[in-house]
């Protein structure tokens, strides 16, 4: 096992981590500000990927497609906020789960109706389809490095937005005391729509970037949604900082588990069994991580309003 291999796996962990962060940031923002559990967040990820694939196919440019994916996801977010979510803020979490779950079904069937059941074609831009040499040998796909760049830019952008801008101040105020900022004359409806659209746009960004790497198909959002929930539960629901740390942790544990667990088992077991146990343990690893974190800190690593 070479140093380059370990370094490559660390890069893979970081890439998975930042993408999960982009996905989880919107989810945790919406929960933090509006107190809303949004199961349809994965659907917005799918909307971003489908519009990116569609527009990229029509125009021949991935970047135009990416822009379209962001706009479409943000628009879809704003529309469902105004039509559906607005009615849910005062209801309890069970009602929110029920309503947003039904949105998943509506989005999936709607997407199938519009785009068909077969997966869409979306490839990464030709200029990024190479790999860059790593120190110590081997190469790393340039596109994955670009994803890491997007993820870091998102984290910095969110930090600046929340700590340095007027909107950020309102978001922070909204997290601490929802009723009071309304009483102080902030247009709470617009603020909520805006926050929801930002969260949706981030989901769309993740969907479009990852869609080019993986596959653009109906139902692609749900597995990611589960991971995003694991991330925000580990990080502390409502905390952006927690989402960042949680996402990197999940990225590390998942990738390193897949890369090394079966080798660990192979020290004590025959290869066939080691492979089986390694694969089973690797797919469980992040949930074990979540269980351990929750046993140690029941409200996550960075609890909000602690």
């Amino acid at each position: 096992m070479s140093a380059a291999f370990i370094f490559e796996q660390l890069l893979n962990s970081l890439q998975l981590g930042v993408m999960l962060f982009v996905m989880a940031a919107g989810l945790t923002l919406v929960f933090g500000v509006m107190g809303l559990i949004n199961l349809a967040h994965g659907s917005l990820y799918m909307v971003g990927a489908f519009f990116c694939a569609w527009v990229a196919g029509e125009t021949g440019s991935f970047w135009v497609g990416l822009g379209a994916g962001l706009v479409a996801a943000a628009a879809a977010g704003a529309v469902i906020e105004m039509l559906v979510m607005r009615r849910l803020y005062d209801r309890d979490h069970l009602d929110q789960v029920l309503a947003t779950f039904s949105l998943i079904l509506i989005f999936n069937e709607g997407t199938r109706w519009v785009f068909g059941a077969q997966p869409l074609y979306l490839d990464i831009p030709a200029g990024l389809a190479t790999s860059v040499p790593l120190p110590g040998g081997g190469g790393y796909p340039l596109y994955r490095l670009v994803i890491i760049g997007f993820g870091i830019a998102t984290a910095v952008g969110l930090y600046l937005l929340i700590s340095r801008t007027r909107l950020g101040m309102q978001i922070r105020a909204g997290e601490s005391d929802r009723e009071m900022i309304g009483a102080l004359g902030v247009d709470i409806n617009t603020l909520y729509t805006l926050v929801f659209a930002i969260g949706a746009m981030l989901a769309g960004l993740a969907g479009a970037l990852v869609g080019a790497l993986q596959s653009v198909e109906v139902g692609m959002g749900e597995p990611v949604l589960i991971l995003a929930f694991v991330v925000i539960v580990i990080g502390g629901i409502g905390s952006i900082k927690g989402a960042l740390i949680g996402a990197i942790l999940v990225g590390l544990v998942d990738t390193l588990g897949r890369a090394f667990l079966h080798k660990l088992f192979a020290l004590a077991l025959p290869p066939a069994e080691a492979n089986g146990y390694g694969a089973a343990m690797a797919s469980m690893a992040i949930y074990l991580l979540m269980a351990i974190v929750l046993a140690w800190r029941p409200k996550g690593l960075f609890p909000v309003n602690a």
Binding site: F5, P141, G219, A272
Partner: protein, 384 residues
């Protein structure tokens, strides 16, 4: 008023016994229509529905009622639907399941209770061996079959150090077992991934590290799309091989040119030259506006197998006659020669195909026969 209606209904049922409801053959289809992997179930459903439509709503001259439910690739959901179909709807025949873990949850108890199950896809080794049953028929293949053909092909290409990869579920295990049964070289590595996994960065790094001379992978549906795209970017230059599931018609468009030239194994292709296949490919295209995949061909053959047995046995009333008629498999399969082995699994040719471009459309062409008149390895464990 009510009494009058009742009397009318009674009179009608006496005078027109041929129209009575009980004459319908009830078929319950459990398949994956939503979420990941739904394009497979949709193809199976559409292939099956095409055969029913060609028969004018009948199969083998019998009126059939096909009930379709979505299992969302969840074993517990598939089991619930099966229980509902059997207990409440009293279906005669079950079919449709795509995934082997779902088939293992549903099939053993269903066939034990006397319901027929015709598998249009999943063929786990357990159901071909120890858990075989006289009421279970697989019209597609035993899971290992296509991978066995690829194992033989990879060896025949002079490859001696293959890296092999499949999801961690029953069909994934069958796949790698099947490949290894006919592959003669060494293994550079063997990896099981999570079912539904879409990011293969960690696995690709391990493949690069192992320096294989070839890579064999079984990743059906969206998993295969994701793997092929990421493999193309990884800069690893070992040739890839796979079963048809990794290169079927439904996913080729989404994989794009990265799939061009890849060899894969299948029991069916659209260019197989027989009348049944020509009619199937043409009718499927005009009905649905897309090329059929092998899943569609399997759904179609499942319906036509049922049709042949219904016609021969005159319905499902006499279960023994119907079973014998199924086993005889007297229908023109779109893949050409087809018969059942002793464990009700196919004995058939497995072809090697190559991904080509016809105009702008990526599709497959047969370039050779991988294994001729091939039967599965588990028939001897079946005590039927």
């Amino acid at each position: 008023m009510k009494r009058k209606l009742l009397a009318l209904a009674l009179a009608a049922s006496v005078s027109m016994p041929a129209l009575a409801q009980a004459e319908n053959v009830k078929i319950g289809m459990i398949t994956t229509l939503s979420g990941g992997g739904s394009s497979l179930g949709i193809d199976i459903r559409d292939g099956f529905a095409l055969a029913v439509k060609q028969g004018g709503g009948k199969l083998g001259g019998q009126d059939v009622e096909v009930m379709i439910e979505d299992d969302a690739r969840k074993p517990d959901k598939a089991k619930q639907i099966a229980d509902k179909f059997i207990k409440r709807d009293k279906v005669d025949i079950l079919t449709g399941i795509v995934w082997s873990n779902l088939a293992l949850a549903v099939v053993p108890s269903a066939v034990k209770g006397g319901t027929f199950y015709i598998s249009p896809n999943a063929g786990p080794s357990q159901l071909a061996g120890k858990l075989c049953n006289e009421n279970y028929f697989n019209v597609a293949w035993q899971n290992d079959n296509l991978h066995e053909a690829m194992g033989a092909h990879v060896s025949s290409q002079g490859m001696k150090n293959a890296y092999i990869l499949a999801p961690n579920y029953p069909a994934g295990k069958d796949a790698l077992t099947g490949f290894k049964r006919f592959y003669k070289g060494e293994l550079a590595g063997e990896t099981f991934t999570k079912l539904g996994q879409k990011d293969y960065a960690a696995e690709l790094a391990a493949i690069r590290e192992a320096k294989p001379d070839s890579v064999f992978f079984f990743l059906p549906g969206g998993m295969g799309i994701a793997f092929m795209k990421q493999y193309a970017q990884s800069g690893i230059d070992a040739p890839v091989f796979g079963p048809a599931f990794s290169f079927d018609q439904g996913i080729l468009k989404a994989v794009g040119d990265a799939a061009l030239g890849v060899k894969n194994s299948s029991q069916w292709n659209k260019d197989i030259d027989n009348a049944a296949n020509k009619a199937f490919v043409a009718d499927f295209q005009s009905e649905y506006g897309r090329l059929p995949s092998l899943y569609a061909s399997q759904g179609y053959d499942a319906a036509r197998l049922i049709a042949s047995a219904l016609e021969k046995a005159g319905g499902v009333g006499d279960a023994d006659a119907f079973r014998a008629a199924l086993k005889a498999a007297e229908f023109d399969s779109v893949r050409g020669a087809f018969k059942f082995g002793s464990n009700n699994h196919p004995i058939q040719d497995i072809y090697v195909r190559e991904v080509i471009k016809e105009g702008d459309v990526l599709t497959n062409k047969i370039v050779g026969v991988g294994l001729k008149d091939h039967a599965d390895a588990y028939a001897s464990q079946c005590s039927m």
